[in-house]
């Protein structure tokens, strides 16, 4: 029986009198991959920052399991170019790190050869893997990944998602992932939660992507089983997403607007 790691209980956040998030309920269990999607400015990052303790909730509360230990992978890594820093030194900064774990962790994320590279010269995908390694070195039972595939090409994205799933299978940790990309959501994501200031809809990806016509849409050779297209339809309009097919018949429930 997997235990519950985090419960968001009616979380609301206001900023300068403006409501960013409203009445968010969500749970993450051990061994579960939860993907948070929503358009830009929908409050995904704010919600994650609240979980991390970087931001206070205005209303509601976050109930954390006593065993909760978070490994956080930020969206981007900006390190001042005047600061010379190798991957090894960057990873050694993890609080209370066991330095013997650095090499095995780098091997796990597939970049052991970069251990002596400067962090400034890494490519987008390499940087994400370094950040993932740093999150893992914190010995987490919950990985919080803020747009883990940002700046990575499609093949790289598939690899990264596979890697994350592999890590989940190995460690049986929970994973909370943010994505604003509606097209690529892992086929093996257990739960998709779509927010736009409130929880719009949630459920298993199979449930929300049920329509075969949508699955025929993506065409990455050899990647058929590892990604799925999440068809995102609402009875209300979110702009910027005109590219999503607007045919009828999606299976999941909608929220209603007043």
């Amino acid at each position: 029986m997997s235990q519950r790691l985090v419960t968001f209980d009616k979380i609301g956040i206001e900023f300068g009198g403006r409501a960013l998030l409203n009445n968010i309920d969500m749970t993450i269990n051990e061994g579960e991959i939860v993907t948070l999607i929503g358009p830009n400015g929908s409050g995904k990052s704010t919600l994650i920052r609240t979980l991390l303790g970087l931001q206070m909730a205005t209303t509601g509360e976050i109930i954390r399991n006593q065993s909760l230990r978070i490994g956080y992978m930020p969206q981007k890594l900006h390190i001042d170019p005047t600061l010379p820093l190798t991957v090894k030194h960057f990873l050694a900064l993890v609080r209370g790190v066991d330095k013997k774990q650095i090499v095995p962790t780098l091997e796990k994320v597939g970049i052991a050869h970069l251990i002596h590279s400067q962090v400034h010269v890494l490519s987008g995908g390499e940087t994400q893997r370094v950040l993932l390694a740093r999150a893992l070195l914190n010995k987490p039972n919950l990985l919080v990944l803020d747009e883990p595939v940002q700046g990575v090409d499609v093949n790289g994205q598939v690899e990264l998602y596979n890697l994350i799933e592999g890590i989940r299978n190995e460690l049986n940790c929970g994973v909370l992932m943010v994505s604003h990309d509606l097209h690529l959501v892992m086929a093996k994501t257990d739960t998709v939660v779509c927010i736009n200031q409130h929880v719009c809809c949630s459920g298993s990806p199979q449930h929300v992507t049920g329509h075969p016509a949508y699955q025929a849409l993506f065409g990455i050779p050899g990647a058929d089983e590892s990604i799925a297209i999440y068809a995102h339809q609402h009875d209300h309009v979110h702009d910027e997403h005109g590219s999503i097919l607007s045919e009828d018949g999606d299976a999941h429930t909608h929220c209603t607007h007043h």
């Binding site: 005047t82 010379p84 900064l93």
Partner: protein
């Protein structure tokens, strides 16, 4: 003659040795202007020290830390842009210091020495302060190296991993204030930050790890002090500015020489 030269050298080397590693942090954290602001306020500390008859170094440290606290509070309120805020505080505290000094009728202060430093007038007591303060700063840097660096690299990651980010930031300011108090005698309030920044910037070209950069900036700072004292002795130039000119020359040499920047 030799004795005061040796004291000057010892004082300068002591200051340069600590200013180097701390300067690296100032450069990494983009605190150069912040350091300048604190340094400018040091003169006010001197005036207050004379006025209330307390130890000058102590007065400077207290004032700098106080000002740093004010700065951080104002910064959080987002009233005006940080660089504007720093500009206002730097120059008004310097002016306030100059005005305050002019009120001290019964004490004659060598203003130039406080503005630009007077290395050749370093006394035995000054040396104790420099080495005592310097060792304290170095000890703190070594003891808190990892948290300081972690917070500098990425504050959010550091916070999530459980580092006490606020306390570390405060420690950083305290260290800068300490170095300013200790270094004022050597290069004066107007030039202190240069002794932190220029050697660190020069060292960047020659290093590939943070520790290397900190150590190399110490060495470069010491070289600059030696060169400055030598020039000052030979050509009778003002010591503080000579040290800074020397540091700037080393910077130029490092960045114009065909050495490849060690980044890969």
């Amino acid at each position: 003659m030799l004795e005061f030269l040796i004291r000057a050298l010892l004082g300068g080397l002591g200051v340069a040795a600590v200013a180097g590693p701390l300067g690296a942090f100032v450069v990494w954290r983009r605190m150069a202007y912040f350091g300048d602001t604190l340094a400018h306020s040091a003169l006010l500390g001197v005036a207050l020290g004379f006025l209330f008859n307390i130890n000058l170094n102590l007065a400077i440290v207290v004032l700098c830390v106080g000002l740093a606290a004010v700065l951080v509070t104002l910064q959080k309120k987002h009233i005006i842009a940080t660089d504007t805020l720093l500009g206002i505080l730097a120059h008004s505290s310097l002016s306030l210091g100059l005005v305050a000094v002019s009120f001290l009728d019964n004490i004659r202060i060598d203003l130039m020495a406080y503005l630009f430093g007077d290395l050749l007038a370093v006394s035995q007591t000054d040396l104790y302060w420099i080495y005592g303060g310097g060792l304290a700063v170095l000890a703190l840097l070594v003891a808190f190296w990892k948290p300081l660096l972690a917070v500098t690299v990425n504050e959010e990651l550091a916070k999530v991993e459980g580092y006490p980010v606020e306390a570390i930031r405060l420690l950083m300011m305290l260290l800068v204030a300490l170095v300013i108090a200790v270094a004022m005698k050597i290069v004066g309030v107007l030039l202190i930050t240069s002794l932190m920044i220029i050697p660190a910037a020069t060292a960047r070209k020659l290093s590939s790890t943070p520790i290397q950069m900190a150590a190399i900036s110490s060495v470069i700072g010491c070289l600059a002090v030696c060169g400055g004292v030598w020039a000052s002795y030979h050509w009778d130039t003002p010591t503080g500015p000579s040290v800074v000119v020397c540091a700037a020359l080393l910077f130029l040499i490092a960045y114009t020489s065909p050495l490849k920047r060690r980044i890969a």
